[in-house]
Symmetry: C2
Subunit: 455 residues, 2 copies
């Protein structure tokens, strides 16, 4: 394939048939997940009320490759393999000698990378005889993906969306309903957790922590109902590695080897999905890319958090995971990249960061939207607010190359389009968007409330 | 390529390098466009204040193939060739032996087929030394496409959007601005035409006719400014033929020959873009597809209009075109498929319809949205309201095949996604959507006001 092509496409027969698990390739295994009562590693029985056994096995597997079931591949084919683009027009606008490639996941039904894991999660649950899935959603990408995936396997899907987002983003609710899901604002009267919050504050705007509690409560109470999570956990990162596996094949087709890989990180699944297959190649000495996570300046778990055991949810109901955290009850400022507003980082990403295998930077909101607008006007795709963080880092690296004259190969993940996020662009273009300074005091206070874990 | 593949892709090197002009292949040429003052055929000088000479030449060319400039191909490559999908999951849900293929134009920057003509129009204007383009837009797809296209060639783009749509669809305005365009609600204080309307009615909701008047007025007054139109005219249909040329190549790759081609028709550019290259093959005896235009029951120019000379705009300022029309001042009911609410049909489509080369059907709104929801839940793409008309006809044909057992090959154009049209889906899902009965009296009255043209 010529190296001046714009879209590097794979045929369906070239689609990866297994997901990649990085754990066996790491110099040391990640620390275990602990039960908050016993402080002992959690076992399959602890997770069985919420997840099917196939998912639990994937969460702890030490196999390097996990076969993708044919039923999942059949749904993946609706949008996978996703295109890898060479950003010729962005490069020209920046005047950089760098070669910029972006892997575009916005072609999926939900408009982001989330269906890569929603589809197998729905499949494994349907195979286990489950009839309904519950989940929480913030901005709504994950809820959309699970709603679509559930419909493919005849499952019902019930979603609790943080009320503030539910009221602000009516298009997300409509997309979820168009795919067949049921959506409730959270807190709701449908659960004990929701009723307790409403009793104390009938006008509660909700939080991701409350929405998780409601979804988990319903799943735990009904044997035919399970819960699904859209990021952070090992099996979610595993499913997302189709992104990086495809990108490896695509770059090889044009003879390009990445010097720098940048991806945005919230819970971490998009970043890990792109980066882990390349990290495998780096660990094996077959390439040597710098791999850089880009997080929002207002929620910088890797660059400003501590590496400690903490809860996955605000309310402190989940098992304890060792991760970079700002404290489980730290509430990030309301930036438009809702998908990056998470207090912790995926344990597996935290572990590779501690091992020094990846680096991290934080970007402020307006710099990101500026990169997003430049990208839209040159490449024709309006990015979701989350990947504008990766694009800002991409532009920074490309301009550095302009100074030094280095023709570096930069690879990034454009994990979703911003069609339902246009009001954020409106705020940026009208000059109404503000940057959010991180409150060091708020982080310090939240870190004093980390759970005590025996050494 | 295997025939059970889901996405039939072309490489960039397979992208068509010329547009197809159907005129020389027709048994008779279409009737000329007339000057409303002299009733004589319009000449290049009549059009020169609004369009560059390259566009005027394309409007009247009798060449079979028109070369696509390299500068246009370079922008096309951002999303072209567009994918052709086999709708395996829709077929399965319908239980039909038919094979359904859809050509998807929603991958473009604007999310529809409109950039296929916006890009060359911007290119030819920039090449002619023009500095700014003006246009009108209703629902906003055309304004978005021209805004993006203008940015690719360093042109300014100024858009008058019907005020009712401007107020109802804030996301479209934001998308246009993100791509760099300037947008005004119409009627505006910026033009004599707008000021006159506002003087009579300060709360005027506007109309496409008024918006056209404003855009044309500004273009006519400034030598460095031209006007661009998004449908109806010959050169627009010409540019859209890349859709059908690609689909021909794609079907050939899987050895499929269409028995039935269905496309939605408003002004007609999407339908012609898909159908004309196949009509060429039909006229040459190389295939024999039924080619069916699908129009909204509330605006059925082909099935309920007359074939007569009429104005292209409501106010009666344009040249006279012979076309199927409901009368230039017929105002269709406010269905959600705003792109299909046009009183006339492209003269070239009207001509081939009169020649008996294509057929037409009309569909009501709820049947269309039902097909749209079925499509979204099976194929993972939420269609714009316009192509749900084609999908409804597609489903109808597929269910007919289910009865007869015929494994027909059905081809349709999915000309855009519905991400910015989700409120319409909300109305459908909540049962609030109504069908609109066509008022025969309103059409009869409008037809009494057709311009008098000497035989």
């Amino acid at each position: 394939m010529s190296d001046d092509v714009t879209k590097i496409l794979l045929s369906e027969s070239e689609m990866p048939t297994s997901w990649y698990n990085i754990v066996p390739d790491l110099p040391s295994p990640p620390p275990p997940v602990l039960h908050p009562g016993t402080m002992q590693p959690v076992g399959p029985d602890d997770l069985a009320p919420l997840f099917p056994m196939a998912i639990i096995e994937q969460e702890v597997t030490t196999e390097r490759h996990v076969t993708i079931p044919p039923e999942v591949l059949e749904v993946y084919r609706l949008w996978r393999p996703s295109p890898l683009y060479r950003a010729h027009r962005l490069e020209k606008a920046l005047g950089t000698p760098a070669k910029i490639y972006y892997k575009y996941e916005g072609v999926s039904p939900a408009g982001s990378h989330k269906p890569n894991t929603a589809v197998p999660q729905a499949y494994y649950n349907a195979s286990a005889g489950i009839r309904r899935l519950t989940t929480e959603t913030g901005a709504g990408q994950w809820g959309t993906a699970l709603s679509f995936a559930a419909a493919q396997f005849g499952l019902e899907c019930e979603i609790w969306q943080v009320r503030a987002s539910y009221d602000q983003k009516p298009y997300r609710k409509l997309m979820i309903e168009t795919f067949g899901g049921t959506i409730h604002p959270s807190p709701s009267e449908l659960t004990a957790a929701g009723r307790a919050v409403l009793a104390a504050d009938p006008d509660s705007p909700g939080s991701l922590g409350i929405a998780i509690s409601e979804a988990v409560e319903v799943a735990a109470q009904h044997p035919d109902t399970n819960y699904a999570l859209g990021s952070v956990l090992n099996h979610v990162l595993l499913h997302q590695t189709v992104i990086g596996e495809e990108a490896l094949l695509q770059l090889a087709k044009v003879g390009a080897v990445p010097d720098v890989i940048v991806g945005c990180t919230g819970g971490g699944s998009n970043f890990a999905g792109l980066a882990f297959p390349f990290l495998r190649e780096k660990l094996a000495g077959r390439m040597a890319p710098v791999i850089r996570a880009v997080e929002p300046a207002s929620c910088p778990s890797l660059t400003k958090g501590v590496y400690a055991y903490d809860f996955g949810d605000t309310a402190g109901m989940t098992p304890l995971m060792k991760m970079h955290t700002l404290g489980h009850d730290f509430i990030p400022d309301p930036i438009h990249a809702g998908g990056l507003r998470y207090h912790g980082m995926a344990p597996l990403i935290s572990h590779v960061y501690e091992l020094g295998l990846i680096e991290a930077v934080a970007k402020s909101q307006r710099e990101c939207f500026e990169a997003g607008v430049t990208f839209a006007r040159t490449e024709g795709i309006i990015p979701a607010p989350e990947p504008t963080h990766a694009l800002a880092a991409c532009v920074e690296e490309a301009l550095r190359c302009k100074e030094t004259g280095e023709p570096k190969v930069i690879l990034t993940a454009l994990c979703g389009h911003g069609h339902l996020d246009l009001p954020a662009y409106g705020k940026f273009l009208s000059g109404e968007m503000t940057d959010h300074a991180l409150s060091g005091e708020a982080v310090e206070a939240a870190l004093t409330r980390l759970p005590a874990v025996p050494a």
